[in-house]
Amino acid sequence: MSERSRLRLVVLQVLVLSLLGTLLGRLWYVQVVAAENYKTAAAENGTREIITPAPRGMILDSRGRPLARNRTALVVSISRTAMLRQDDEGRELVAKVADVIGQPVEQVWEKTRLCGSEGAPPAPRCFNGSPYQPIPVTDEASTAMALQIMERREDFPGVTAELTAVREYPQPLGANAAHELGYLGPVTDEELAERAVANDRRGARNETVLQGTDLIGRAGLEREYDDDLRGRPGVRTLTVDHEGGVSGVLSETQPTPGNYLVTTIDAELQAEAEKQLHAAIMRARQTGDINKGYATKLKADSGAVVVMDVRTGGIVAMASWPTYDPNIWVGGISGKDYKAITSKKNHYPNQSRAFQGEFAPASTFKAVTLPAAVRAGYSVNSSYNCPSSYSIGGAPKRNYESQGYGVISMLRAIQVSCDTVFYKFAYETWLRMGGLNAKKKAKDPFTEMAKAFGLGRPTGLDLPSESDGRIADRAWKRAYWKATKDFYCAKAKTGYPEVARQDPQRAAYLLQLSKENCVDGYAYRGGDAANFAIGQGDTTTTPLQMARVYAAIANGGTLVTPHIGRAIMSPDGQLVRRIEPAPAGRVPVSKATLDWLRHAMRTVTEVGTGYGPFARAAFPLDKIPVGTKTGTGEVYGKQTTSWFASFAPAVKPQYAVVMMVSQGGTGSGVSGPSVAELYKTLFGITGQRVDLAAAAPPGGHPTQALPAVRADGTVVQPPRADTRAVRLPGLVARREERTDAGGGGPG
């Protein structure tokens, strides 16, 4: 063996020694020098975060009465890790719990299955939370049930019964407001992913905002102001052993309760509006249909009422009928309830007719078309012929109830709601613009005015899913024809044999319609223009849009942005922000025309179509003058739509009130009396006496001051003669009722 080999072997051994030295050095560094870092990392490795949900903020009416709050409920939960420790994966445990809370075993078992795991039922029946989160199986446990569980802990390992906050809609003074409040629902995986992406983009990666078991606003104010109401959950970091059992608490941050939403709604008026709307519906159902010789009663399938502050656009009351109890959503809506509020038979109680229902506005629309006529050159000071029918292109178009009035002033035309005068305005204007040969983009003053009043698009109300309404102008007709001509052309050939079997007359009408639509359905005809002028035809609006139109006329031309949110307040009483959406603009109507229109509508109440309801109600118009306009919308195949649009006081107006009853007959007969009653509440009228202090909201104007929120979370109503501190049971422990400075003491 050579010396070279020996030498190289020595070198190799030195190399090996240095490798071992390297290992020991690195080992020393990792285990001794940097050990603390790794111990921290190890602790994080073995931790789980438990989210303590924040109490959701209350939704208050304008005076601080809770429209949505939290009640404490006894929630029974089962720990999943405790279940897994059982030999039978917790089957027997679940059976015992089900027995105590009185639910079917299988139902409780399903609730404990993690969504997406094998054998789990589809959401929302499965558990959508973290595996380390206790799984709630009921939020309606009684104290007796809770005691059974808590006193026999050895029989119920991992089962807890805890007081937890649950949403509640107390309906103060009977104010339901279901469509405005909305409801909560479990967050979906898609939403969680969306929020995670949004958080990433904001760089707020570690923000725990939402998790699988959270409820988020699904509709109404609950959804619109979800971010404000939700608050921030508390995070408890637990150390977890390898079995997933909890071995200690590493850190804890308390949840930040959600902020309060103060609305413009006055619960007292809201309750009255709902009552009056219901009264109108019931009145209609006892009234015979004038078009069917009074033999058939009116169906009055649905209705809506809007009370708006004309100066700010604040919604003081808004109601839709049919409605439902918003509390059915709490704790997950049952299949039966869900079916009930979405069924055609019940006329879709989940839809708000006030801001989602679209109806032909009929003669209330003359508030829009009169200024348009003025712009088209028709003076309000001139006289016009009001025949019983007006010929358009050879076809006579009749006045409502075929009544003729002869030559009358414009004022009289408004008072009696003469349609033929408006036919003339629209038809002549249409002819002047070229009639059927008018340019595609011709600016028709009538449709342009409708646009200027904010129709055909959402008003910007702070509620989700608001309807657009529709302005049936030239562009719309063309677009509609393009979308439907294939259907109509096919029908023009085949006819309507299936309809003909039952109703040959209707089938003939439909065939004729199909033929016309197929050939030149795009044409904006003279009849379309005439229909538009009286708010008939394909033009539709929501009651809210009409309330905004009347608010614009009442306030001198400002197109307000309707809103229900008034302010966001922190639970300790600090004002977070006011909600004062800027107006959408001004309507292009001169002051003189607006003044004239307000005056004209005031006289409608005194001597015109609006006279009846207020006269019968013995309303003191001398003290509180009211401007009104009635509407009776004709809908093919249905009974007429009853409209009653108004504002008051006619001088320096404060409120606009619009009521609509679908298949409700005439405006003055069905909606009018209810609107008159509402004004009595709005201005504190009893008999001939006006007592603004007794009005709702008090003072004859919307409540200006914000309710005071005390540090303990209780809410104090703004001063009023009989204002008291109103105690809000929520998460705050009950204390003695007290009367104090904030409220001024009982009257």
């Binding site: 390297t22 290992l23 285990q31 190890a42 052993d241």
Partner: protein
């Protein structure tokens, strides 16, 4: 038993075996007891660590918590028997059997690539046998390679001669075949061990220095080209990338390194106690009873226990070096040197990746990791070391 070949006339074979077992010249007396004790200590520590690493998973899975421990002890037992067999025959006789062992190992490696082979952890390295046993032929190939290359490099020469270029080329070709088969699996870890072993053998054989330098340069070039041309699988490159930046992808390639470092680091000086390591028992570290067994030592036995493991391995390597130094002929020296390089590189690679200073490649920690083939091969190698040692000065 030792009939036939008698290397020197001075060796007096015991007339009746057993009666003079403790005689000054007896095999037992001439054995390297330090080496044996160090190896047995490592096996014992390994058994405890394997038990700790597998107990919880077995309980969770409803299996026998001692299942891995029992199999591990069985592996050690079989390995020791194989080691004794490897030490009893005079190693010089192995020259005769080397071609047979070599061909057998090649057949084994080829069988792995045939449909008989099974993929575990991304490497197509196993042959699964009935009754829950599996064989990893590449482990045995290491033994074959050591013996075969030693034979080629020490063959046909007087003791003082150095291998000529032709011998080196022949030895390299000899090594290239199993190396290529291992790379095809692909088993990067074993391939790297093979490289280290070949390099050490050629260097210590006394071959011209240009071969040593040339091979080092070639190895580096191959590494660069392999990465550049995508010869390596993506996950292999990711493992290397995770090596220099473990935080880059903490859920993916860097996960093993990160979890491994957390486990070792949280052990501190004294460790958390056997069966007490939160990371180990929480099963945060993957492949913990095999490639990442050292993390159990680090976390549960602390610096004291982990350093003891390193020290025992150092002891084994020192004894292997000493045996190579004292070997009677070049063949014996080269066998010992090959085993030294194998153990040294594999220990450094395994512990180094656990500590984040080497890329993650799947090689077991000698004597400590769970795994039959590896244990058998290691103990056979120890038997060969003892064999060379017992027959020194003879």
């Amino acid at each position: 038993m030792t009939v036939g070949y008698r290397p020197t006339p001075y060796t007096v074979p015991p007339p009746r075996r057993g009666s003079r077992l403790l005689h000054r010249d007896s095999a037992l007396r001439r054995m390297d007891w330090t080496l044996l004790v160090a190896v047995l200590a490592l096996c014992a520590i390994g058994a405890a660590l394997v038990w700790s690493a597998t107990k919880q998973a077995a309980i969770d899975g409803g299996d026998d918590p001692q299942a891995f421990l029992k199999k591990h002890i069985l592996n050690v037992g079989i390995g020791l028997v194989l080691g004794v067999v490897a030490s009893v025959f005079d190693y010089r006789m192995l020259r005769a059997y080397a071609p047979v062992v070599y061909v057998l190992s090649l057949l084994g490696l080829m069988a792995v690539l045939s449909p008989l082979g099974t993929t575990i952890n991304g490497s197509h390295s196993w042959i699964v046998l009935p009754a829950g046993f599996s064989v990893q032929p590449s482990e045995f190939a290491k033994v074959a390679l050591v013996v075969g290359m030693s034979m080629l490099l020490a063959e046909k020469r007087d003791a003082e001669d150095e291998p000529r270029d032709m011998d080196v080329v022949l030895a390299l070709v000899f090594a290239a075949v199993p190396f290529a088969l291992v790379m095809l699996q692909p088993d990067l870890g074993t391939a790297m061990v093979v490289c280290a072993l070949v390099l050490g053998l050629i260097a210590v054989s006394g071959a011209p220095i240009r071969w040593v330098v040339g091979l080092v340069v070639a190895a580096l070039l191959v590494a660069v080209v392999a990465v550049q041309t995508g010869m390596l699988k993506d996950y292999q490159i990711d493992r290397f990338r995770a090596f220099y930046d473990p935080a880059a992808d903490p859920k993916g390639a860097g996960f093993n390194v990160r979890q491994s470092l957390i486990a070792v680091g949280s052990g501190g000086m004294d460790g958390q106690g056997l069966f007490q390591g939160a990371q180990t028992q929480g099963k945060f570290v993957p492949a913990q009873q095999t490639d990442f067994i050292f993390t159990v030592a680090g976390e549960e036995l602390g610096f004291v226990g982990a350093a003891l493991v390193v020290a025992l391995l150092g002891l084994v390597l020192w004894r292997a070096g000493r045996i190579a130094m004292q070997a009677e002929d070049l063949f014996g020296r080269l066998v010992a040197t090959g085993i030294l390089c194998w153990f040294a590189f594999q220990s450094f690679e395994n512990i180094g990746m656990t500590l984040g200073i080497m890329p993650v490649t799947g090689v077991p920690l000698p004597f400590v990791s769970y795994g039959g083939s590896s244990m058998f091969a290691n103990l056979i190698a120890v038997g060969l070391l003892q064999n060379v040692h017992m027959r020194r000065y003879s």
